[in-house]
Structures are given as C-alpha cells and as structure tokens.
Symmetry: C2
Subunit: 429 residues, 2 copies
Amino acid sequence: MRPVSIHTGAWRYPGAWADANFNFARLKYLIQKLEAGKFDAFFMADHLALLNMPIEALRRSHTVTSFDPLTLLPALAAVTERIGLIATASTTYNDAYHVARKFASLDHISNGRAGWNLVTTANPDAALNFGQDAHMAHGERYKRAREFYDVVTGLWDSFADDAFIRDQESGIFWDPARMHVLDHKGPELSVRGPLNVARPVQGWPVIVQAGASDAGRQIAAETAEMVFAAGGTLADAQAFYADVKGRAARYGRDPESIKILPGALVVVGDTVAEARAARDHLDSLVHEDSAIGSLSIALGVDARAFDPDGPLPEIPETEASKSGRERAINLARREGLTVRQLAQRLGGYAGLALVGTPETIADEMEQWLDGRGCDGFNIMFPHVPAGLDDFVDKVVPELQRRGLFRQDYEGTTLRDHLGLKRPENRFFP
Amino acid sequence: MRPVSIHTGAWRYPGAWADANFNFARLKYLIQKLEAGKFDAFFMADHLALLNMPIEALRRSHTVTSFDPLTLLPALAAVTERIGLIATASTTYNDAYHVARKFASLDHISNGRAGWNLVTTANPDAALNFGQDAHMAHGERYKRAREFYDVVTGLWDSFADDAFIRDQESGIFWDPARMHVLDHKGPELSVRGPLNVARPVQGWPVIVQAGASDAGRQIAAETAEMVFAAGGTLADAQAFYADVKGRAARYGRDPESIKILPGALVVVGDTVAEARAARDHLDSLVHEDSAIGSLSIALGVDARAFDPDGPLPEIPETEASKSGRERAINLARREGLTVRQLAQRLGGYAGLALVGTPETIADEMEQWLDGRGCDGFNIMFPHVPAGLDDFVDKVVPELQRRGLFRQDYEGTTLRDHLGLKRPENRFFP
C-alpha cells in the first residue's frame, strides 16, 4: 500500500477510488476488509520526495500526495484489532532515536502489531529535501543501515520488561537497575540512549526488508525477519529464496526466522479469460508518458531520449536502485522487448502477477509455496476497492478451504501471525 | 498532557491511573472525555531524552516512558471527531521535511485538527541522542527555529488547494502548474521541496509556542497563533500578554491572531476547604528526591549540593532553559523560600493553580479573561481520571452557564475552535 495499488492505471479503473491513497476513510475501509480476510499485515511503502520521473508522467501518478506512513499507521491501529502494521522508514534520512521511538510507540499503541520496513532510499532526489547535495552512495547507505539497525534494536532493549514497577505506596515508578544506557559510538552514528519508551510489546517490532542487490540480500540475511521479494519467475524466486536463507544460515540464523514474501499482483475473475481481459483493460489505462517515466525510474536515467521502437541501449550504473535497473535490463533481454514494450510492461506492473480464477490463483500459490519459492505473498491489488474485495471475498476462502491459510487469527501480535519468536533483550536476558 | 498531569505526585493519588502516560486505552478515555467537555485541543508536550534529574528523583517520575506525540496523536485522531490535536516537535533535533510532512498528514487524517507546538528543546541531554556532543546554544537554537518555521510553512504551501484534479477520463491526476518548488537555501537549512503531501486542511496546522525568554517571546510574536504561557501571578500574566501582543502588533500582525493561554492546574472541590485539602494531599505525595530533582531541572544545575535549609545560592547561566531558571530564582526571592521549600513547590507544581469550587474557579478565570491576563487557559489536571472528570463535569457547566464557554463545537477544525483564520497560500494567493 502506497500507492494503494502498485499499478499506475489503477486509479482510472472503472469504479476505482481515485483518491484512495490520500483519504483516511477509504484507507480505514481497506484495512478493515483486510483484517476481515485475516491478513498478516498492512504494508506501507514510502518516498521522501516526488518520484523522480519526467513531469508529463508524474502528473498522471496517484502517488504524488500520500500520507507519511508513521502518521497513518497509528491512526489505522486505532480502528483495527489484530492486523499487523508495517511502515517504511529510511535509515539514510532519519535519526535512529526517532525511528526507535516511533516504532516502539506504535508497537505499544497497537498492542504488538508494528513492523519496520528498513530501507536505504533509492530516490536520489530525497537528498535535496534533507540538506544534502547528493545522495549517499549505495555501499555507504548499506553500511549506515547496518549500524542504524544495531542502534535502533539496542535502544528498544533500553529497559527490561519488568522495569516499570509503579508502586504507588513507596512512590517508586521504575527501577534504574533495569535500564541500560546504550552509549553507542560508531563510524556513522553516535547515540547515547536510553530510549524514553518501554521495551516494545513484541520485544522488537518485526524487521522487514526489500533490498535485492548483493548488499540488500546480505543485510536481509543478517537482520530481516520478513523480506518483500521481487516477484519474477518461480525459478528466479527459488534462487533468491535459497540464496537469502543460505546466507542467513551461514550467518548463524535459523532460516525459518526469515519469511520471504514476493510481491504478487492478483487479478481475480470468474473465468481465466475474464481475469485476463480485466488485466488488459487495466494496462490500457497506463499512458505512454507514465510508461516511459516508470522505465526512467527503473533505469535511473531519462528514457525519453531512447528510440521507442529500438532495443534498450547500454545503461550506465548510477547511485539509484541497482536491483530495479538489473530487473528492467534482464526483462528486456529475456523477452526481446523494444523500449516502448518494456516501458508499457513496467508502466503497468512488470512483476509477478497471478491472473485467473480463485482456483487457478490458489494453484499457483500452492506451487510457489511447495516449490520453496516463498513462504507467503505480499498481495498487491489491481485497483481498490473492488480488486481488494475480490481477493478477500473469493481467494481467501479458497485458500482456507485448502488449509493453506488461517481461518482466524491465532495470536494477537504480528510476530504471532508470522510465526516469529519474540527476541530476547540483549542486556537483560 | 505528557505527563497526563504536570504534578509529580499525580500517579500516587488515591484512585489515580499510575500508568496513564503510557496506556492507550486510558488516553483514549481521557481525550474522549475532553471532547465531551468541548475542549479546543489535547496538548502534548515532549522530551527527547530522560529528564535531566538525579536518578533518585527520576525513578519516582511517571514521565520516563511516554509515547512519541506524533505517533500517539494520529491514533487519538481516529477515535475522536472534533477536538484539536497539538503535538510538540523540536526544531533543533528534527528535519524540517519530516516535520512538515507528519503535521500535514495528521491535519488531513484528522480533518483539520492538528497543531504544532514548536520548541527548541531545553534538555541538553537530547544532543547526545542525536549524534551531537553538546546542546546548541540558546540563541543558535532560536535562529534555527525561525528559519525552520519558514521552511515548514513554505513546504505546506507546496500545492495550491485545487492542484489535485484526479480526472479519470483524461488520466491527469494533478496539475504541475499548481505546485511550487520551495528551493530553500538558508544559513541553517537547505530543503528543495516540494512536500509530497497536499496542502493541509487548515492551510497550516495551528502554530503553538511556549518560550518565555526574550528570544522565545519574539519568535512567538512573529509566528505563533497560540502561546502556552507560564502561569504565575495575574500581574505577571498581564505584563506577558501585553508584551507579546505588542511585539506582534509591531511586527505587523493582528494581536487577535495570537491566543495566549497560561497553564493552570485546577483542583475542584465541593467547598474551597475540600479543594485545598486535596491539593495539600497531592503535594504530600511528592518525595523530597523528586522535589530536589525538579529544582535541578529548573536551574540547570544539580541542587543536591545546596544546603536545604539555606537560601538559594547564586546560579550560573547554562544552555538549559533560561525562563525556568529565572522563574525559580524569582519565586524563591519573592517568597523568601529556603532551598527545600522552593524544591517542594517546584516538585509539585509551582505555577498558576486554581483551587476551589466550580464557582470560585470560574470567578478567577473570569477575572483573568476580563483583566487581559489571557485569552483562555491550558488546563492541567491534578491527577487522572478523577481530576479531569471533575473539571469536565463540574467546571465546564459553570463556565457554560456564565456564557464564558461554548455549548457545542461551532466548527470542525482547530482553527475554528480558536477563532483563527486559515492562512493564505503564499505562492497561490
């Protein structure tokens, strides 16, 4: 979510809520429906600047105005009971103390439902909104992110779970012996602590990552508990799954402690033909300007200069997302696409799409799960509300019937939903 | 609020909720009760480190674990309809882009109920949590705050109110001609913009300040729309009121566009004697360690070294809050208090207190309002929930009976409640 649909044409679909990204009442409807469908979590991506695409494409984008995730999710926490709440927060353009404090607060307010999608921010324009002349280099960003993670989790461990006594008789509110001052001094960050928030309900909010580059996979293997993976082919997904779980094992972690969930756009129909027609209609709503804009973002260069009917030229590496660039280049090479064809695919949504009936969609999901391609899916909706309603009303019951998905929540926290352990406090084991 | 009572002994009062600062269900009760009492707003102070007091006092404080205001208030927005939501955010330890974005998001999510209490942060320990060796000097902090205000309000004006077209037919979501790129490059901040959030419902969230030093008064006169004033005597308040409104007029502002609201601790009884006894009981719950701790905070030095039965020694100026130090020194001088006596006053609550029956409290309020001591009050409760319930159930009806307070909300936004105009967009008038 953010945009409420990844598909650029979503807001133009007949019956779609064009303003859903930026209308609290609509977002409240959507999350409550997802909760009725027993989803693990509501996942909110983020951007710290306008998307870096040409203005002709940008004026067609429904992402320009969106809520700050850490402001929206507390409000959604207050109108839900069980569903997890995953917010994106950048390690490049934030202070660790604020990030630790806001997620700890959200975890308490939601009674243990918070998750942190740790990103390093791919859009180089963000730098200019945060007092910097240029975006930090890819390797530097990941170095800072790794240290940032250590500081944030260390701050979450500032207090033992039993630190707050609140003895009205003696007047002792808390026990200083059950507090740890982090006193972190590292190459990138210097943070004394302690945090002025009690240890989160979940110990730590769930750590989520989406990096696909080598550095992204390594930090995920060392720290992530859930990975928002790129879709692609099942073979690609199996290789990614084995790679990340293997890296985790080599780092000394239980591979079961990382859940890998590829993004999947799901379009449901009463017949496969109806679903395919719906997707084609959706793709037809993507304007060529948006298509070229998406290609420009993926490549990190302005694609308007290219011959639309020619093959993709050589693209130099930039400090923008490496994985997006590689995916686009590989897709064009694999399918022999022209620049225009590639742009149209990327402009709609080029990743994993499950398009069919509830039965064929459940079949595909089962194949991915059984084939060790993933541990679950990050479901993306073609448009809202109908695309989301269809999934909850039609696909969820089919998955439940097959025993692939819960009938009801079994626990109360996001960790419970995902089958993840509560981390021990490193200072008060 | 934060703590839910300013009074250090509040959490120990018989029947008080000891965990109210850090329990969402309790805070939800409190704000809904305030809304039933037609309050303008729920005001949340903040700290970016543990209070800088000796540990023997700190372990008696109910403020050690508290929610981040910008995480709590969105959750409270979702469970209320009309009451304003004022969050404190520091200009010294934040990025302007984040502050602009979070308050704009809160204003939209709450349908125009957000306010920003702009502070420069008095506690020098905050610096150590944000990668700095020492707290920024007082004058520097205010210089940065003034520029920060210009940037945040400029970012709020990034889009004209009619920028978002969302024309599903043509596929144009918004009009780039109705967007302004701030491109701010100042001595303290460099922020390109635009904000990726539409202009707030209120144009700008209401600007609130609480500084009492000369620099604090001047920035309030130039920018604030509501001032959380120190209480003190009516004569002090009248002088402050005239000074700030006079500065505003000299700056070219309508003095009516700044509302001055002193903090007032209100203790209600069926008789004046009963109310006074309740306050005495509350004060008796303040431990001497806390009392000395509060004195240390006010002065910016460790007061344990002083002779408790002697007069207050000379106190050097530090980079901590100047106004707190001056208030303490003046109180001791005015009433000839020993160190212990001063500590006990400060340890409970030394500012303006209205202690009596609903009638005597309303009389005092009327005297302050008629005497141009203030435009209203920031009510502080001796303990919760009973101290707050008493105010809403007993004092509010008395104020309504006298025509001093609204019977119901007349508008929907915080600006409506306060009688403040919606600011024009400086780029799209």
